[in-house]
């Protein structure tokens, strides 16, 4: 057993027994953090009668095994998964890019009073989205269509004959609206992530670039952006998870069944009157799959994003 200097918990470490106690606690932690996921995985392979009669965390017996629940869940969720990706990927990229630009303009280039803007942006991270929900619905479903209808029919009236209608009920339009909304609300956190990274970039290097004759745009393009690549990984992964996982905005902005996102469809599946837990668990796992995959592959970046580093 290796004992490093500056270790802690003497009582735990000094003897083999205490070291075993430590690992026992850590393993108990694994059981605690994984049992809901484990029972979900086990249950989704069970038949109706099996999940009612066996222990939830036990694997299904040979007669209780079925892929039917998974198939049902997959069929229910598949269009939602596609919609989610279609909406979340562009929103994530736009947020990250704009966040990086904002952070550059507010960190690397320094000017008096920028702290005020920074405060507003950081406060924006913590806004409970309920506070913007009604205006959001108003904007996308009433004000914007009204303005666009008026504008298009006035300017292009000779083509439309004054009958053009903003396609509010079009599934793709709704997804686009949701995507834009997520992109906007993602800017603050992306800015914060990039800002703390840019603060660590040496001022002297930026000054060297200015002396080399680089413009603000060139410094961003040739120096900051290439150096930001690891931070882009962190931001994209964190933000994708956040956007994909959201339910609230989708509930408000998507009312066409065809354009519902994965979380919406899962919520509908769970909220059904008949609780077929094998199907809902399969649904949960299927809906979690994209973020789980991202998390398993890029766990390190996700942890950094979470810690705001």
């Amino acid at each position: 057993m290796s004992i490093r200097d500056g270790g802690f918990i003497d009582e735990l470490r000094s003897t083999e027994n205490s070291r075993i106690g430590l690992y026992a606690m850590l393993l108990a932690g694994i059981v605690f953090y994984l049992f809901p996921v484990e029972t979900a995985v086990m249950t989704m392979f069970k038949t109706e009668s099996a999940f009612a009669q066996t222990l939830p965390f036990a694997p299904p017996g040979a007669d209780g095994f079925t892929l039917e629940a998974l198939a049902t869940a997959w069929n229910t969720l598949r269009p939602g998964l596609l919609n989610s990706l279609l909406m979340a990927i562009p929103a994530t990229i736009v947020s990250a890019l704009l966040g990086s630009m904002t952070a550059y303009g507010l960190t690397t280039i320094s000017w008096r009073g920028q702290v005020a803007v920074v405060v507003l942006i950081i406060a924006g991270i913590f806004i409970p989205y309920q506070a913007v929900l009604v205006p959001l619905a108003q904007f996308w479903f009433q004000v914007l269509p009204g303005l666009l209808n008026g504008f298009v029919n006035t300017v292009f009236g000779f083509i439309t004959g004054g009958n053009w209608q903003y396609p509010s009920r079009n599934g793709y339009v709704q997804l686009l609206q949701l995507s834009i909304t997520h992109a906007a609300y993602g800017i603050p956190i992306c800015t914060l992530l990039f800002r703390s990274y840019y603060q660590s970039i040496s001022d002297e290097m930026i000054e060297a670039a200015r002396l080399d004759g680089a413009s603000a745009f060139s410094i961003y393009r040739n120096i900051i952006l290439p150096l930001s690549l690891p931070m882009f990984a962190v931001t994209l992964i964190y933000q994708f998870t956040q956007v994909y996982n959201d339910l609230l905005f989708a509930l408000v902005l998507i009312n066409e069944p065809a354009s519902q996102v994965a979380t919406q469809r899962l919520a509908a599946l769970t909220g059904g009157v008949v609780q077929s837990f094998n199907t809902t668990m399969a649904g949960a796992i299927v809906a979690a799959l994209p973020t789980l995959l991202v998390y398993i592959v890029f766990g390190e970046q996700f942890a950094k994003g979470v810690a705001g580093e």
Partner: protein, 378 residues
Amino acid sequence: MAQLTLDEVTKTFQDDDGEIVAVDKVSVDIEDGEFLCVVGPSGCGKSTTLRMIAGLEDITRGEIRLDGQIINDQPPARRNVAMVFQSYALYPHMTVRENMAFGLEESTDMPDDEINERVEQACKDMGIFELIDRKPGELSGGQQQRVALGRAIVRDPEVFLMDEPLANLDAKLKAEMRTELQELQQDLDVTTVYVTHDQTEAMTMSDRIAILNDGVLQQCATPLECYHEPNNLFVAGFIGEPSMNFFPMTLEGSTLRGEWFEYELSDETVAAVEGTTDITLGIRPEDIEFVQGNGPNVFDSTVHVVEPRGNENTAHLQFDESMDDQFIATVGGMKQLKAGQRVKVRFPENAIHLFDTESGEAIRNRKLDEIETVESVV
């Protein structure tokens, strides 16, 4: 070919408590091809001055002229200056070649092959040609330092600005680079302003030294002038290692009376200090003589601590056990001294510096005409 002039350059910062003057009316003429060191303790405004020349800080008042052209409001890139930073400030994601080419790409219309040619030539000059396609992370500190210098050279600037470029190197490499830098500057014959807090660097490398304290220029002169004819107490204490010894005295007739000793002045010196009564007597450690027997201006003292340095010994002396501060004398490495030993020391009159205690101004310095030259062998 460039002459750089600082004319009453002033920089003030706005603080919660009001205005802070970082650089106060600094005026210096830097000749074409001259190597000027700006030294001073940290916070004295030396880096701010350099950054104002570079254009990285606005100038509050006064003006900076390059060959007679005012460059106060020129953006950094148009000033035709190149700067070497303490941290080297290399672009970590670019190779040595890209690092050096970046400035030429950004600030000139030079075709790519010409840029490449110049970069490769500069690399050869700096002896880093074999590293040209590596990134800074793969280089040692000394190599990074060369790349930083190369990046400055390749621009062929009118003025080199260096901000403590050797501070991050270890002692041996530092001494090496000092010589190399000096040679390089002479070869290129580019006007250079070099900021350092290390007075040894300033003494050994520069044509002239500008000493700043609290944003005020104390003296701007050759290293030897600064050493032997300091303008004031600050310069006298800052230049030289170990520092000059100071004793506060009062002039009565032709006698300087201090807490520990009385010093008899010659008529000539008395005439020179006429009108000042509060006088600080200064003497450099190497000018203190150890003598046998009594005489004028010979004092008894006790050796407190001896620091052997090989080539010489530094002795910390006390006139009396109750004396809090010690004064320092250096003797040749072959002369042995022991702690506790009673010695007689003489302060030769031609070696003493006298300062007005109140203003700090020098009123009498040691004479430079005593400097001997080593005869050349034909």
